[in-house]
Every structure is written in C-alpha cells, then in structure tokens.
C-alpha cells in the first residue's frame, strides 16, 4: 500500500509539476549547483586532513583523524573521481 509507482507519481505532477520544475531550473538550479560545488570543495579539504591516516602517514594526531574517518569513507570514491578528473576553464563556465 505504501509503495507508489514512480511513473504515476510523475504523471500526477502533470503540467503544473513541469512548469514548477522549469521555473526552478530557470531561477534556482544554478544557485543550488554553486552551493553544492562550494560544499564539495570544503569537503575536499576535510578529506585531505584525514587522508594521512588512510595512507598510513599521520598528519593530525591519529586519534582525531580516526574519529573523523567514518564521515569521510562514503565519499572517497566520488572524491577520487572529482580530484583526478581532467578539468579546464570551460568547466568553470557552466
């Protein structure tokens, strides 16, 4: 009973839902992306702090790093991709 068909949910929104999403896309989607990018760059720094322990080279006192580690682990794979992906000026443009 609790399960809802996502297709039906989509249709329920109909034209009004589409207009709502379009207005969000025009007015606020860019802002949301910028906010996410800012947060991600902060998280990169955070991961960098705890990176030493992951590699076995302590940078901070290990006690604190180890306490931070569980928060970092879920993001390691996407963090690696973001850090290693080739970037250029056009990335900043959009």
């Amino acid at each position: 009973m609790g399960d809802k068909d996502p297709e039906k949910e989509k249709k329920k929104g109909g034209l009004f839902g589409a207009i709502k999403e379009f207005v969000y896309g025009v007015a606020a989607h860019d802002s949301a992306r910028f906010a996410l990018k800012s947060r991600a760059s902060m998280e990169h720094l955070f991961i960098l702090i705890t990176m030493g322990d992951m590699l076995g080279v302590p940078i901070l006192p290990p006690y604190y790093s180890l306490r931070l580690l569980p928060y970092v682990v879920p993001q390691i794979s996407t963090w690696k991709r973001r850090m290693l992906r080739e970037k250029d000026l056009t990335d900043a443009l959009a």
């Binding site: 839902g17 250029d88 056009t90 443009l93």
Partner: protein, 563 residues
C-alpha cells in the same frame, strides 16, 4: 508582412526541425538509448554529476544560453532588412544551431562527461587543447566588452535605467540575506524582492538619473562603465551567495515576466513590419555575407551553448532521450526569442529613418521602446514600460558580464600565476579583467565590437562542430549533418573576422582615427587577427584528425561472413 505570420512560420520551423529532423538524427544516427547509463548516473557525486529532471534542465539550459545575445543580434541585423535576418535565424537554427547544442551534449555524455579541453585533446590533438583554452580568454574579453557597451549605452540613453538597476541590485542583496542568513521562506523572499525590483522600475520614471546627477554626470560613459565593472567586481570577489546568485535570481523573474507579457502584447497588437524586407547588400558595418551571419549569433547558432551543453547539462541528463528536448528543444525556443526581438525592431518604427535614428543610440533603446509598446497593449503606461525594457536590457547583459569577469579572474590566475604569484590574488585578476573591459567599452565602436564578439562566438561554434564531426568519424557514424555546417561556419567566421580586423586596422594605418578610437580600433583589430590565427591552426589540426580517422576506417578490415 504581419508579425503573427512570422510567429507562425517560426513555430512551423520549430515543429519540423525538432520533431522530424532532430528526431531522425536522435533515433537513426546517434541512436539515443534510454538503457545506457549516463555520466550523471554512472559518476553521481551529488555535485557536478547528478541525474536531474529534464524539465529542470530545460529551464537551466534556457537561462544559461538566452541572455542579451538573441535580442541584440536581430535588432542590429535588421539594418540589412528583416527578411535576410529572419531567414538566417530560422535556417541557422534548423540546420546548424540545434545540431551543435544537441550533439555537444551527446558527445560529452558518450565521453564520461568530459569537457571541451579534454575532448579536443582526445579527438583532435594536444595542441588543439592549448589553442582552444587561450582562445577562450579573448572570447571572454570580447563578451565583457560587447555586453559592457550595451549596459553603458542603455544607462546613458535611458535615464530611468540606473535607478531600476540600483533597486534590482538592492533587491538581490536582500534576497541573499533572506534566503541564506535569515532562513526565510523562498516564496516570501521572492515576492518581497520582486516587488522591490518593480518599485525601482517605477521609481526610475519618477526620478531619472539626469534629475539626480545632472546632465553632465548622467551622460558620462566613464561613470557607467566603472559602475558596470564595479558591479561585476563585487560579483567576482564576494561570496557567490551574497551577491551574484541572489541578484540573478531576482533578475530572472523580471526578465521572464517581461518576455511573457510582451509576447501577449504582440498577439494583441499583431503589428505589420514597417521596415523594408531587404535594404542593401552592404551597410556601414559590412556586407550581408559574412557580417550578418556573425551579427546574429545566439538565436541562430552560438558557441557559448556548446560549452553549457558539454560542461554543464551533459553531466546532469538522467537519460540519453532527454538530450533532444533539452539540447535541441531549448535552441528552438531561443530561435523564437530571436524572432520576437526581430518583430520588436521591425514593427515599432514608422519608417526606416526613425529606426536609423534609434539604432544610433544603441540596441537598448530600440528594445526598451518595443517592450514598452507591447506592455502598453496589456495596460502598462509607456513610461513605466520603457523603464521596464531598459532594466531588462541591463539585466540580460550584465548577468553574462559578471559571469565572464569571474571566469576571466580564474583564467588570469591559471595563465599567469607561474609568471608572478600576485596573479593568484582574486582582486588582481578581477582588476585586470575589469580594466581591459572598460578600455574596450570606452574606446571601441559598439557595432564593430558586437561583430567581433559574434565572430569569436561563431568560431567557438565552428570548433564545437569540428569536435562533433571528429567524434562521429571516430565512431563510424554518418557525419555530413555536422561536417557541412562546420565548413560553412568556419569559412563565414574567418571571413567576417578578417573583414572586420582589416576595416579597423586600415583606419588606424591611414590615420583616419585618433585619440580613444585609435586605442579601441587597434586593440579590436589585433584581437580579431589573433582569433583568425588561432582558428587557422585549429583548422589544420582538425583536417589532420579527419584524415587520421578516414585512414583508420580504410585500414579496418570488413567483417567476413561465415560460409
């Protein structure tokens, strides 16, 4: 011809182009597959790669590509007559514009969301990437100059504009505080700040800039150029949530409401074109070919779109099937916007002489009068409508300008930080970008500046089409639909840039220009020559890459059928 007929023809082109041509390419050649995982799904990081609804992306793509470009281009190009301008808008979008926008997104999606630098390295050559990135810097400079000129012209010619612009900025800053600091409801914030911005539009008519600053100051171009770049300076160095984002947020509503109500006004008045269908092959800016084809860039085809499609949209599409509505669909909507601007310019003046006098004051004046006329049809007084149109023009131009100055700051840091660490400083990079922009705005003749910007933009489009052709060749797909548009754009753009640079430098060498104009003509002429050289090198690299793919195909053995 009646303006409604033009709208109907444009809608027919939209329907045939989107449903039939784009549909055929999407299904039969690209073979968009809903089951194939897109980069947004494969590499979802919650930041850049994130599956997003096609409706949201439609709005995002529209907002990112539809600035002042599709409006100003047709307003200037109508000097050759409305018919060639309309034909280029419709045929350019039908055969080239959507091809570039859609295929750029598709190409980036099939290459794990790679950006143009990486794609040009892989598909063309390592040198292509270096040239492309240094080309982008000059491209950005020309955008800052051309759009800065529009802002300054509008502020000088339309006295209500500065007050409306100031109130919009205040409304934006308040919106930032309300959303991010005071944690207020977004709907309440939107209503309050849009009302403040609207109040500024009304106040502009009550207290125009000449009554506050006096005639001398309100007509001073330097003052408004400094104001425009100061605005961009804040946008570039302040935290993005405090200034740039909320100002753009409020501005989006002002522009959207204006366009929507203006369109209703056109349908109510449905005026006839009063300007001639064709005037002359050659006008003071230059001949119809190649100059008109770069004067109308956005609205027919624009290189800027390919950057948005590849680095932005391609990383968010949740299904390959969404690339057509978002990439191609939005381009056709922009074509409609350009047709709307053409109708404004072509119908609001009683005679060509009247239009001729108005265009000398800049495209902002033409646009503001048109908006005023069509808003008047739904009951808004002409004076307030003119103020509304002027702030729309400022907003459309300065939104792109502030973005460009921010990126020029990043580019300065990337290109020059090895020369001296001082270039890493955000204020230094922004200052350099602003000074270069101000020099162009104050010393360049705006119509040449616009043509050069259009040339750089179209060159970017040629490069995007070159990458698309190389990608299609490398995949063994049919490529004529991208190859021939690329050839046309490449030849046309290089011809336009050479013509404009020659005209500018010829005046300098013959001593026909002096003082400020000498600086402006020389600077613009040299930038034009640089762009041509960069394009020729890239063209040679492109031909080498095409030959490489052709020889690879020739060497690949045909599959042997089992006996």
């Amino acid at each position: 011809m009646n303006s409604v007929v033009v709208l109907i023809i444009s809608l027919a082109v939209f329907f045939i182009g989107y449903r039939l041509y784009a549909g055929y390419i999407d299904k039969k050649i690209i073979k968009a597959d809903p089951k194939r995982a897109t980069p947004a799904k494969m590499y979802m990081d919650g930041v850049e790669f994130m599956p997003t609804s096609k409706n949201v992306l439609f709005g995002y793509q529209f907002k990112s590509i539809a600035g002042a470009g599709p409006i100003i281009g047709p307003i200037i190009a109508i000097q050759w007559g409305w018919l060639p301008a309309l034909l280029w808008i419709l045929l350019g979008t039908f055969f080239i514009g959507w091809v570039q926008d859609y295929a750029s997104a598709m190409m980036a999606m099939r290459h794990e969301g790679a950006s143009f630098g990486g794609l040009s390295h892989k598909l063309i050559s390592p040198r292509a990437r270096i040239i492309l990135l240094s080309f982008v810097y000059f491209y950005l400079l020309l955008i800052a100059g051309a759009f800065g000129n529009v802002v300054v012209d509008t502020a000088v010619r339309l006295k209500p504009a500065p007050m409306a612009w100031l109130f919009l900025t205040i409304a934006g800053v308040i919106a930032g505080q309300m959303i991010y600091r005071w944690k207020r409801d977004i709907v309440l914030t939107t209503i309050v700040t849009v009302i403040i911005a609207m109040a500024g539009i009304w106040l502009g008519t009550v207290a125009p800039s000449n009554t506050i600053l006096g005639d001398t100051l309100s007509n001073n171009r330097l003052l408004w150029a400094v104001a425009a770049f100061l605005f961009c300076y804040f946008a570039a160095v302040l935290p993005i949530w405090k200034f740039s984002l909320p100002v753009n947020y409020v501005a989006a509503y002002i522009v959207f409401i204006g366009l929507f109500v203006g369109l209703i006004g056109i349908l109510i008045i449905h005026p006839n074109f009063t300007l001639p269908a064709v005037t002359s092959f050659s006008i003071p800016i230059g001949p119809v070919w190649p100059i008109m084809f770069v004067t109308i860039a956005c609205g027919a085809i624009s290189g800027w779109h390919s950057i948005v499609s590849s680095s932005g949209t391609a990383r968010q599409l949740e299904s390959e099937l969404d690339a057509r509505p978002v990439g191609a669909g939005v381009m056709f909507v922009e074509m409609m916007l350009a047709a709307f601007a053409l109708i404004i310019a072509g119908t609001i003046y009683a005679s060509p002489a009247e239009y001729g006098a108005a265009i000398k004051m800049g495209p902002g004046s033409v646009f503001a009068l048109g908006v005023a006329k069509f808003l008047n049809a739904v009951g808004l007084p002409m004076e307030i409508g003119r103020s509304y149109g002027s702030v729309m023009m400022v907003v459309l131009a300065i939104t792109i300008m502030q973005l460009v100055v921010r990126f020029m700051r990043v580019a300065t840091s990337e290109l020059l930080s090895d020369v001296h660490p001082v270039f890493r400083n955000a204020h230094v990079g922004t200052f350099i970008a602003s000074i270069l922009g101000i020099v162009l705005v104050l010393t360049g003749w705006w119509q040449y500046l616009w043509v050069l910007f259009g040339g750089a933009n179209q060159l970017m489009a040629s490069l995007a089409l070159m990458l698309i052709t190389a990608w299609l060749m490398s995949e063994g797909k049919s490529y004529a639909w991208a190859f021939w548009p690329m050839i046309f754009m490449f030849i046309t753009t290089i011809a336009a840039l050479l013509y404009t640079s020659y005209s500018l430098l010829d005046k300098v060498l013959k001593g026909a220009v002096k003082g400020q104009a000498l600086v402006g003509n020389t600077l613009m002429g040299l930038v034009g020559i640089f762009l041509v050289i960069a394009a020729v090198i890239l063209g040679i690299e492109g031909v080498k890459a095409f030959n490489r793919y052709k020889s690879m195909k020739a060497k690949t053995p045909e599959p042997v059928e089992a006996a």
